[in-house]
């Protein structure tokens, strides 16, 4: 197993390198950051000064070379906008996004699996059809639209939850976390729900499809023939078999939830890194965008690795083949 992990980490480095080159090149092509950073009143001299101060007066390849050199020592450059190390800017915003993604994932799993189970076990009932219709609603409505609707209903009309922003935070292992207190959680509920909606639909559908397939298999019948209570047949025999394929999806989706936070954070004024990166793209703050992508890609690969490990933990069949390979 350690060899396997090491090999994956080595591949990760390669991936990160490719990522950085692509994004660097891409953003270089989009436009000149100086144009967007300087005050409109600035004259040509001030523009030249800005370009020089940010190292933008050098050829693109040289700029990338400088970036690479720094990257090897863990320095991903300074944000044009904030004038601070890009990595620091990102890491500062990361807990906010992670807690939102975590909460959203929790919601979509906590609701999606039971609902999907139900819809799969009683596929022809009224409730199941309602659940499935609802799930279609969940991924056909654009996130931004639903987001505003949630704000209008729960904050403006009903006044139950705060409309925007992040609540008070408490420190946990050196990170600022807001969802540990009820007050903080109140702020996180709407954005997390907004973010969860799409995944919730996906999980419901996947779970249902899995349930429908698995419940026809003989092991399910045998479990009942053994006289096991229904609770155990579904809760252990069925669920464990469903969870295995779901784990892969969940791993994938966690990454995409983090990325999709971009939209939700914009609407709910959630100070996470998604909102930061949108601003950074529009301001051509290249160091931040590159650092963000490196961080998320790294995180994603890490999640993937964890999923693979978890997978082999859950599925005895994989454990063996992994040992062989």
């Amino acid at each position: 197993m350690p060899v396997y992990v090491l090999r994956r980490l080595a591949q990760t480095l390669l991936v990160l390198f490719v990522t950085s080159a692509l994004v660097f090149g891409g953003l270089y092509l989009v436009g000149d950051p100086v144009e967007i950073l300087v005050n409109p009143q600035a004259d040509q001299e001030e523009r030249a000064r800005t370009a020089a101060a940010l190292g933008l007066d050098r050829p693109a390849l040289e700029q990338y070379g400088i970036f690479l050199k720094g990257a090897f020592t863990g320095d991903l450059g300074k944000s044009f906008v904030f004038g601070r190390p890009a990595l620091q800017v990102i890491l500062e915003r990361m807990p906010a996004t992670l807690e939102l993604a975590f909460l959203a994932m929790l919601m979509s799993l906590g609701l999606g699996i039971p609902l999907g189970l139900y819809a799969g076990l009683r596929p022809h009932g009224f409730a199941a059809r309602t659940i499935m219709a609802g799930s279609i609603l969940g991924f056909s409505l654009p996130t931004f639209w639903v987001g505003l609707l949630l704000i209008m209903v729960f904050a403006v009309q009903l006044g139950w939850l705060p409309s925007t922003g992040r609540g008070p935070t408490t420190e946990l292992l050196g990170l600022q976390i807001s969802i540990l207190t009820w007050e903080g959680l109140r702020y996180a509920l709407l954005p997390a729900l907004n973010l969860a909606l799409f995944k919730l639909s996906l999980i419901i559908r996947l779970t249902r499809a899995q349930v429908r397939e698995q419940s026809l298999l003989d092991y399910m019948r045998f479990a009942r023939a053994k006289g096991l209570p229904r609770r155990r047949v579904i809760g252990v025999h069925l669920l464990k078999n469903i969870l295995i394929p779901l784990i892969t999806v969940i791993g994938l989706e966690l990454g995409s939830v983090i990325a999709f936070a971009v939209v939700t954070e914009t609407i709910f004024a959630w100070p996470g890194m998604g909102k930061l990166v949108i601003d950074s793209i529009f301001q051509l703050d290249r160091p931040v965008v590159v650092a963000y992508l490196l961080v998320t890609v790294f995180m994603f690969i890490l999640i993937n690795l964890l999923v693979d490990l978890l997978y082999s933990l859950l599925d005895p069949r994989v454990r063996i083949s992994e040992a062989k390979g």
């Binding site: 499935m132 505003l148 949108i278 793209i281």
Partner: protein
Amino acid sequence: MSAVLPATVPAPQTPFRRFLEEFFDSKLATLGFALLAAIVLVALFAPFIAPHNPYDLAKLDLMDSRLAPGEQGLGGASYVLGTDGQGRDMLSAILYGLRVSLYVGVVSGIIALTLGALTGVLAAYAGGRVEQFVMRVVDIQLGFPAILVALILLAVLGRGVDKIIIALVCVQWAYYARTARSAALVERGKEYIEAARGLGLSGTRIVLRHLLPNALPPLIVVGTVQVAHAIALEATLSFLGLGLPSTEPSLGLLIANGYEYLMSGRYWISFYPGLALLATILAINLVGDQLRDVLNPRLAK
């Protein structure tokens, strides 16, 4: 379980007719199909059905902007679903928008599915280094958050239907590849593939006749979700100011344009396009669900 219907039953009709019969067995699926057919027809013939041409700038009148549904404009024209901020007839815009959205969603979906399914199945078939390499590329692609790839790509490419299709294919193919590979992987391990290899069947034949069909049901599930996702993603990109040119709006873009009017009570500017989007995605999913059930040999009764 030994089947209730004996497998040796004489086929009373061609497989295709059987497929049709099974497909239309469900009322819901029939409804979905009818809805989808209607939507596709409406989209195809939008220029003949639509009361106005929403793309013709010379025909738009700013003075008719933001009319409520049913209100009459200055020129005497009446607008069943109202007008948007530019004085564009919403009904016509929705009809034309359907066209754009379907085109973008379906074309990008088909290209991505073909590309993804082929790479995924080939990876599963080839195994070893090829598989490792392909799956690593897929991981890289999936590691890039879809919306960000699209954002940067579109920032570089600019706006346009072709550009958004490129962006959507780029962010979607990996999902299909991954799904196809894992489905094919399960099949690859099965005895009949060993047998097929043993029989000396060619690689292409095994891939095309055995691996691909078995990978199809999960691909269709992913596909129906992804087409819907593509249409919604396109709307989101438009919301963020990228995507399609605003003078030729898709449904998503119409919703995005109407977004700012939501708070002000001018609901129709984004509500009706939203309804159309919902109907489209609903229809696609109803059809997709039934397709999956009918095509899935394990679910067949």
